[in-house]
Symmetry: C2
């Protein structure tokens, strides 16, 4: 069974109806017309997921739909932005209506949770690939930029680390994948409420997609600083603790990617404010290190010995 | 030879430096920060090109870069919008620096011609695919919407029709491809100056990507009207006339896609204004028919006989 592109677009349009009054014109014209609030900067991020590269080929369509939007919303969270709209470009070898419906179920469920309107996009024939662009708003003076970390800042991270990488490791080993870990891989939670509340309080932020060490490295390069990480202070879920111990766990937490937690820096004076924010938004945050002078990102274990990962995070195109 | 994703992004960032003052933060953070002018609506369009589906696999990288941006800018032209920014998501089987440089040469040359800043994106491993999202501005009261055509409107089209489809036909037939036709397929010209000048003068507009009859059909459905097309009035290039005659040419012009001309409707009273606009922006426009009551799009030859194409335009996923 196959469907025509125009039928597909109609199918998507019917399901993507929005009540946002700032959508002047949504799906169905050459472009969308949108209204950005006065005094706010427009925040734009794009991420693409390719089958077999960014997700296992047996990922359920609803999980893929969720994840494709989640990884993009996570970028808005890491800027301290409020999300508003998205576009979706979906390339598929064929256009199975059941597959598209499943995909939209996951995609639009997450969109509805954050009042994100799907305002346009493209459906094309090709190898399975999903490209999403998200739009949001932030007061530019309060945006969380990578370049804003300062010597002496605390380093914080939300939630727990290593779960998604652990699920991938079980999947690669053909082992039974723990449900809680798989849920974290398939349905990452963009930390939007946390990011918005941190805008104007925290300094630098980044979402953990390539792995904590790699992502913290991006912050350090952009800010011209170094970092010291306490690898045994990294927050771990019960599921991760149950399945992985010692250095294997440290490695998943420090170098595994795909968690989509927010890593941020803030001055010591903001500790109470950050604890209050975490309580208010209901997301745990953990202090995991300190920004230091220099250019190096180093990690130390509980005994104060320097710790080295086997690799520094997920890199596409790596030799 | 292969390059690392982060090196690639640096490579792109270095070449994409912009002087636009409305780019508060460009490539290199979790998201871009952008400033939309007061009183203007944000206009957003996304289009993806997949190897072997939307372009011949032997397309030169610079041509692909140009075209990936051009087809998106064409959507802004058809809204009457001024372009401002774009994001680029590039999936490649490997990351040949020479290929990427060629791609960027074409992409950034067209971007520079229209002062479009590349503000973000994504490079990933996967089958060759290019997804671009473009952003522009328009006064929402003057935007050219598909739903705005009215009974009695003239139907106009810019430039010439059928050239891109003719080049594809020669390519498919393994014939020698005429240079002028190939240029039209590989390097379409988004009609941005025309679209902006028509905002507030024309009524409905669409860019001709799926084929004139199909695209005019979209306008008619959105507007609740029909259309009568004079198929022998469709503007043809010298190259098309030299290579194709009779019904073959009519078919390329009426049903071939990929020309990225602007088809628009306007009241009779606007004919002089439109002629002046066309002269000012240096793009020919031709009256090719009339919007009528009803729901049908029909075409007539010079003798007044109804003319039927063999197919109604390019449709992905067609059975």
């Amino acid at each position: 069974m196959s469907a025509d592109e125009f039928d597909l677009i109609d199918r998507i349009r019917r399901r993507a109806a929005t009540t946002r009054s700032d959508v002047l014109l949504g799906i169905g014209d050459d472009a969308a017309l949108l209204q950005v609030p006065a005094g706010q900067a427009l925040v734009v991020a794009t991420d693409t997921l390719n089958a077999g590269v960014h997700f296992p080929v047996d990922t359920a369509p609803a999980d893929l739909g969720w994840k494709a939007l989640a990884v993009n919303l996570s970028d808005l969270a890491a800027m301290g932005a409020a999300p508003a709209w998205c576009t979706l470009s979906l390339s598929m070898p064929d256009a199975e209506p059941a597959w598209v419906d499943g995909f939209l179920e996951g995609f639009l469920r997450l969109a509805a949770m954050h009042d994100v309107a799907l305002v346009g996009g493209d459906t094309t024939r090709g190898p399975l690939s999903v490209s999403v662009t998200v739009h949001g708003f932030v007061d530019p003076a309060r945006a969380l930029r990578r370049a804003a970390a300062r010597d002496g800042d605390d380093i914080w991270v939300s939630g727990t680390l290593g779960d998604a990488a652990a699920a991938l490791e079980q999947w690669r080993a053909n082992a039974l994948i723990d449900d809680a870990l798989r849920e974290r891989l398939d349905r990452p939670t963009p930390r939007l409420a946390l990011g918005r509340a941190l805008a104007g309080v925290a300094r630098a932020a980044i979402d953990v997609s390539d792995g904590l060490l790699a992502d913290l490295g991006h912050v350090c390069v952009a800010s011209g600083v170094g970092a010291e990480l306490e690898v045994d202070a990294l927050p771990a879920s019960d599921a991760l603790r149950a399945g992985f111990g010692g250095d294997a766990r440290r490695h998943l937490q420090a170098a595994g990617g795909d968690d989509y937690e927010v890593c941020f820096t803030a001055p010591e004076a903001a500790r109470d404010a950050i604890a209050t924010i975490a309580r208010n938004v209901g997301i745990a945050v953990t202090r995991i290190g300190r920004i230091v002078d220099g250019q190096r990102v180093s990690a130390f274990d509980a005994d104060g010995n320097e710790w080295h990962p086997a690799s520094a995070g997920w890199r596409h195109f790596s030799a």
